[in-house]
């Protein structure tokens, strides 16, 4: 089953990066979400896979590693906060400029304010 999980991580990463390379805000945010999924699962499996071994003391003989789980639990919630912030930035950008392209326009040398 390790191969199945590894392929999921790989595919989610690839999809995430592909979407992040699009030129509009919405797909970039979706890409970021995919990448978060991949990273969260990656951290989770760093505790190695185990079945029927939930880390609830007293329910079995062996337990899955609880530490990566605790890390990922908070990471899931934080990635929601991050996605939400970027989302409002995307909305703000779109509403104030009238387009949702992420790159600066041609001719703009990328040093706004100088």
């Amino acid at each position: 089953m390790e191969a199945l999980l590894a392929s999921v991580i790989g595919l989610l990463t690839a999809v995430g990066i592909y979407l992040m390379l699009r030129l509009r805000t919405f797909p970039v945010i979706l890409g970021l979400t995919f990448l978060s999924y991949a990273v969260n699962i990656f951290i989770f499996v760093s505790g190695r896979l185990a079945v029927n071994a939930a880390p609830i003391i007293g329910t079995g003989d062996t337990y899955a590693d609880p530490l990566p789980q605790a890390l990922v639990l908070t990471a899931i919630v934080i990635s929601f906060g991050m996605t939400a912030v970027i989302m409002i930035m995307a909305i703000g950008g779109y509403l104030s400029s009238g387009h949702d392209r992420i790159d600066l326009d041609a001719g703009d040398d990328g040093e706004a304010g100088q």
Partner: protein, 942 residues
Amino acid sequence: MSLALIAVLPFLGALLPGLVIRAGRNACALATGAVTGLAFLLLVSHAPAVLRGEVIQTGIDWLPALGLNANLFLDGLGLLFAGLILGIGLLIILYARFYLAKADPMGQFYSYLLLFQGAMVGIVLSDNILLLLVFWELTSLSSFLLIGYWKHLPEGRQGARMALAVTGGGGLAMIAGMLILGNIAGSYDLTVILVQKDLIQSSDWYLPALILILLGAFTKSAQFPFHFWLPHAMAAPTPVSAYLHSATMVKAGLFLMARMWPVLAGTPEWFWIVSTTGLITMVMAAKIALFKDDLKALLAFSTVSHLGLVTMLLGFGTKAAATVAVFHIINHATFKATLFMTAGIVDHAVHTRDITRLGGLRRLMPITFGIALLASLSMAGIPPLNGFLSKELMLEEAAHTIWITPWAMGVLATIGALLSVAYSFRFLAHGFLGPVRQDYPQKPHDPGFGLWAAPGLLAVLVVVIGLFPMATAAWLVDVAASAVTASPVQVHIAHWHGLSVPALWMSLAAIGGGLVCLGAYPRLRAIWNAAPRPDAKRIFDGIVEPLAALSRLVTDGLHNGSFGRAVVLAVLAIAGAALWAFLGGSHAPGTRAVLPADPIVTGIWAILMIAALATPFLHRSRITALILTGVVGLLIAPLFMLFSAPDLALTQVSVEVVTILLMLLALHFLPKDTPAESPLPRRVRDGVIAGIAGVGIGALAYAMMTRGPAFTPISAFHLAQSKPGAGGTNAVNTIIVDFRGYDTFGEIIVLGIAALIIYALSESLLRNAEVTRRLAAQPRERESGDRHPMMLVVSTRVLLPMAMMVGVYIYLRGHNLPGGGFVAGLIFAIAYLMQYIASGYEWSQARQRFDHHVLIGWGVLIASLAGVGPWFFGLPFLTSGYQYVDLWPLEEFELASAAIFDLGVFLCVLGAVLLTLASLSRLALRTGERASTRAYDTEGHR
């Protein structure tokens, strides 16, 4: 502890001026003065003990593992410098009150000044060299703010930048030197280092450490060849020049050399490097000072020259010379701060500091002239003023020092003194003497008492120390010099040493020569003007600008404004590094036993892969892409469940619901489709890059899962201690609220901040006219005729209390079974969001009693209370405790303090999620969304 208070007071006090400035400028100056005055009094209260020869120590372990301890100590040298910093600081605060113009932000000025003062006091009181380095860098930073105080002046900004670059660079070198020194001595505590002279001087690393530390000291004290920054820093307001560039900051370098004197001095290397640098600086800067027309530039170079003098004396490495150095530090601080303040008064009154446009001020500004006369005669070394005493002692030391030849040092020191006489007299003669002119930019007049009080007081000191050195200064010199040389010093200062003393004749030669120089000034000036000389600023810019251009080239090459380009470069760089690491390692397959495939997992896997794979191809329809994302996210939850992570499964499901709702709401404002604008080659390129990353990560994950951990995981501790230590059987929850509670505390604060950012951004968007116009002009999509379907409205309202009950249950059981504050908060949030969906934002908002912000605030507050509470039992922050309670007729249950913390988590998560979605909903109202007003707004709206 009051020793620590001396160092901490200015930092705390730095908050005051900004607040008190509302009560007026006098109150502001008074508050600042009170802070400094209090610190000064504290210092004075320690003085008797220090004068008895005691060393006062205090300290707390800060990062003992790094050897970085907040240890402070006060000995004679520290007393002298801290006294100078705080005492002259008081006078500068008074002077600045009357110097700063109405338009200058005074609160800011005093805040910066106190920050600087705190950093300086920190340097001179530090017992730990790492702590000293921290304060050292703080002086560089705070002086940057002070030099650049007049932000509108380009010279101010450039001068500040140059000072920061030079002193900051020196500071970096010094860090390296101090680390080496600490390594040799085996401790970073000065009191330990200072007694290990033999060990340090016999070490192979002595010379590198010496050079690096001296680099820091020389740059700070503007010694040749780093002297060029000080005159440019004169763009600062005069109180800053008087404080930083005469009395304190530039003396930090001297302080450091004096502090390290017991262990670093006495070797030939020390003698040659330090005394030669000091000598060159003294003579060269004095020569430049003679030909400067700006009063402050003249004083700046004379300061450099006098700093050189002290450096040279320290470099001699003898006890007598070091004692003279200490005495001259005191004298220089008194007369030079006076002169700077006088220059500021002239500038204020005449509106120019150009000496060629001055002259004749003696009659027009008699008080100022009197003060300037005393101070500059002292600087020239005319008896019986204090400058004479230390200069005479210096010449005596120089005459007995063999440098290359027996007489070279004496001759050069005399030339330095001669030039010093010449520029001091020029300051007086060309500035104040001579006929009254008719063409001053503004008619000169003496200032009010407030402005001349501070220099006046210092001028009195100049005379008093000059007349009665044994009574007024010798005791301070004794303790300070004893600390510098680490041996008892009994100094005897006198005006007359008899005719056989070489210093007398050297002194007379200097005064005579100085007068000749002044007489022949026009001719000398012509020679000076004709001679070529390097422009330090041009050289500095010549070095800095290519470096800046290079870094700009690199930065622009990596970030040209295209996000995609940056991502591609990052992915390729990471993949390249991974490949390089992979090729360098062994490639045996993993040996860890693999789990056999399970049909349920395989089924989930298949759907997940199909949904993920379809996304890149279908993503241009954003709704479709969002649905596919939702499918992927929701399918991850059962995977967590099946691989023994029920807590993660619960969290993933609830977060996924909230995220998809958020994105749906966002899509309301954004275009519904992504246009096809990438050509096929670009899409292929992106696909290949994404594929490389995916294969790499997948392979890495597989390699990791098929191997055991490289280091023994620390989880065994958490599993073993979960029940006995934290009182809960859910190890994941106990880690979150107990073992790693501090991390979680930070995380909920981050989440709260994120929600507040979203609120603030949406708020500012609503204020933007362009945005509201675009919102109102949003194309209306075809909407469902049934706006708030009856079935949905009724069922969500019925579900609300049930969902809440589930939430409470999940929260309560979290410590022992899957659940907890995070999940409970999300469940509550979803229960509310259902109302938003079914009954509309306005309807729900009107029935809401608590502000979302308040929930976040309470959440953080309650979590903090759970953290602070243990303090009252003498336990560290966030220590948790638990107790089993047997309350009839209930079963025995557990009360854990972690539950309070988890309640904070719960509230914070709930508030953050609701605030986020409410912020977006508020935007939606501007699109012409009609609010429902009645309880059941069921009729179609079109």
